[in-house]
Symmetry: C2
Subunit: 389 residues, 2 copies
């Protein structure tokens, strides 16, 4: 057994999260390192969704809106996500896509900063955030400017209304300093919106401790909520009373069943809802979140850093033609630069190592600490080495 194999075995053997892997369907021998794009299926989810379909929809039908808690599901599931992102109870709601929630958050933030008209957005963020920021700007008469997170502090002006940032760079895996950036934005009198799509479930996030104004993020990556699972929206407690969002529909009304012609927003976080929630996707997510019950997020973080570091060591030794571009301060992924990256990823997938390719030259590997083993990291590097050799 090689030295790396011995270390992998030892690290897996003393992994306090090792039991979690059994909660997922990963029996097919694939080394799945794409949980940062679509998290794996928790085994118990299909049976739970079958109950939603056959009993709740099929038999109880319309009564499930009240008797099975469908109506409150967006807030109730938000409450389950709150501790994973450090949100205050009662201040997270789930529904719509991340894109729609970015729109909701940016416009709401603009309305809290009257007299200011510039939106700064993370030039390295997943593109949808920039597209939506530009649309929000166009609709409100604001302007929009892309800045690298490292340049945010010096880019803030008296006219900056909102800064939209991604917690983790989806390409490089770089983790941004939520505390320092939020403080800089606040010192400039602006509001911040954090996109947590690549950090929720990947590491402990503390939006309350960092005084974050708004946070949004998807639930189908490290949270394993299922393909296209609905996104979350969180707001700082002291901002909730003045929250004035642009997509208030009947589900965010104070008295939805009064069917009033005049809109009066709900008092709680329900005011961030819009229309009827996609219940089947929502309750799929609800079931999937059970895998988080009792997880210590600091153990999660420790394992994540150990895993990604170990993978880099393995790559250095076994696949030296690929080079990590992921900084030390990171989320839970490693991105490798190599020549002919698209073809290389195709061969990796053919050989049972699933990551993804981001143009032009990146191989991206997500290390979901709940189910990825150190042995997987080693084996992925070995196969990569064989392909690159």
């Amino acid at each position: 057994m090689s030295e790396l194999a011995e270390r992998a075995a030892k690290l897996d053997g003393c992994d306090p999260l090792q039991g979690r892997r059994d909660l997922f369907d990963l029996d097919d021998g694939v080394i799945y390192l794409d949980g940062n794009s679509l998290g794996a299926l928790p085994r118990h989810v299909p049976a739970r969704v079958a109950d939603v379909l056959t009993r709740q929809w099929g038999r109880m039908r319309i009564r499930s809106w009240t008797e099975e808690g469908w109506w409150e599901a967006p807030e109730r599931i938000g409450e389950r996500i709150a501790p994973l992102i450090g949100a205050a109870p009662g201040h997270v709601v789930v529904g719509d896509s991340t894109s729609v929630n970015v729109f909701r958050a940016v416009v709401s933030a603009l309305r809290m900063t009257p007299g200011r008209s510039e939106i700064l957005f993370d030039a390295t963020t997943f593109p949808t955030d920039g597209y939506i920021a530009a649309s929000a700007a166009r609709m409100t008469g604001a302007t929009v400017r892309a800045v690298d997170p490292a340049e945010v502090a010096k880019s803030l002006t008296d006219d900056t209304a909102v800064v939209l940032l991604n917690h983790v760079d989806y390409r490089s895996g770089r983790l941004h300093d939520m505390g320092a950036l939020t403080e800089a934005v606040h010192n400039a009198g602006a509001r911040v919106v954090w996109d947590l799509s690549h950090s929720a479930g990947a590491l402990p996030v503390d939006i309350t401790g960092h005084n974050v104004d708004f946070a949004v993020g998807c639930t189908y990556k490290y949270l394993n909520g299922g393909p296209g699972a609905p996104a979350f929206f969180a707001v700082r407690p002291d901002l909730l009373p003045q929250l004035d969002q642009p997509l208030g529909g009947w589900c965010s009304h104070r008295e939805p069943f009064a069917m009033d012609t005049e809109y009066v927003a709900a008092e709680g976080i329900a005011k961030a809802r819009a229309g009827t929630p996609e219940i089947v996707s929502l309750l799929t997510l609800d079931a999937a979140l059970d895998v988080w019950d009792g997880v210590d997020l600091h153990q999660l973080r420790e394992k994540s850093l150990a895993l990604t570091g170990f993978f880099e060591e393995c790559v250095k030794e076994l696949a030296p033609a690929a080079r990590s571009v992921t900084p030390e301060i990171r989320g839970s992924q490693v991105s490798l630069s190599c020549v002919d990256a698209e073809r290389v990823m195709g061969e990796l997938v053919n050989r049972g190592v699933v990551g993804d390719h981001r143009p032009p030259d990146l191989l991206r590997f997500g290390f979901t600490p709940l189910y990825t083993r150190f042995a997987d990291a080693l084996r992925a590097a070995e196969i990569l080495g064989e392909i690159l050799a």
Copy 2:
């Protein structure tokens, strides 16, 4: 056997759609007349969704986006809905809620009518449409005014930009004249947005024949797509090239996987998408739509009118204390006015007749022609008569 019972038996016996009922799980003896709120479960849906979860998500994981057609599902399922609403192929997409799609349609329509600034909306529409119209107005500097559909023609002015109408009044069941109203709006130089939530699947709709600009609607009522199933958005073919919607995200980009920082809209109907679609809800709807394969919508309409008319006859004879407020020109529901309507509906539900109550005085009964029998209409009226006696 009473005369009404004899007629019910005869009508059910020669119903060309009678076989469709077997496609639904309605074995529990309940008389389900709330399909206008939540359509019943088609029996084959749970097995299809189980495959989505266990095989597509569980085993193929990320590959399903391409190999199982997840990526194109919003357009592909839109194509299945197109014939049900008379849309041109390639001009319907499914995703997001009806509320979000109303926002998308109204703002897009405003952008097609520069120099005009008033939105008229149906004062009798389901409230979310009015809330969203008001929000769109506020964001664009437009004004908004509620008008009864009967007053639309005389309310149009040179400043009218958009008229948002509901095809069927959700309270009374009144069906509005799509052709005449659309023509009036066009003659005034404005754009029309029709909400088809209560007509799609209830009757043949012909948005192409009536030259409709935009149509939106939900899929969880007469289309039986499951609780909170995603909504559809349709645009007139000649307007698609200029469609400029406010929620363009990465999924409506021309080259989503180029991850470009600049937004360039897709060319086809995909340009009306936003973020990642809620795949589990979307594919639940996809499976559910199978019950429409081969349905003749004119037979559907004939049965629907016969059913609602027969129910009114039964009520007149057996429950004369309730009075139909549904006009002859109607969707596929009957609304009865009676004293103490909320309590009466509660008793109906307790006795296995499920409709719903709309304040203050309405009992609302949906007659889904695919699965409601004339015998159900009679039995519902009998039980109502017993309660009111």
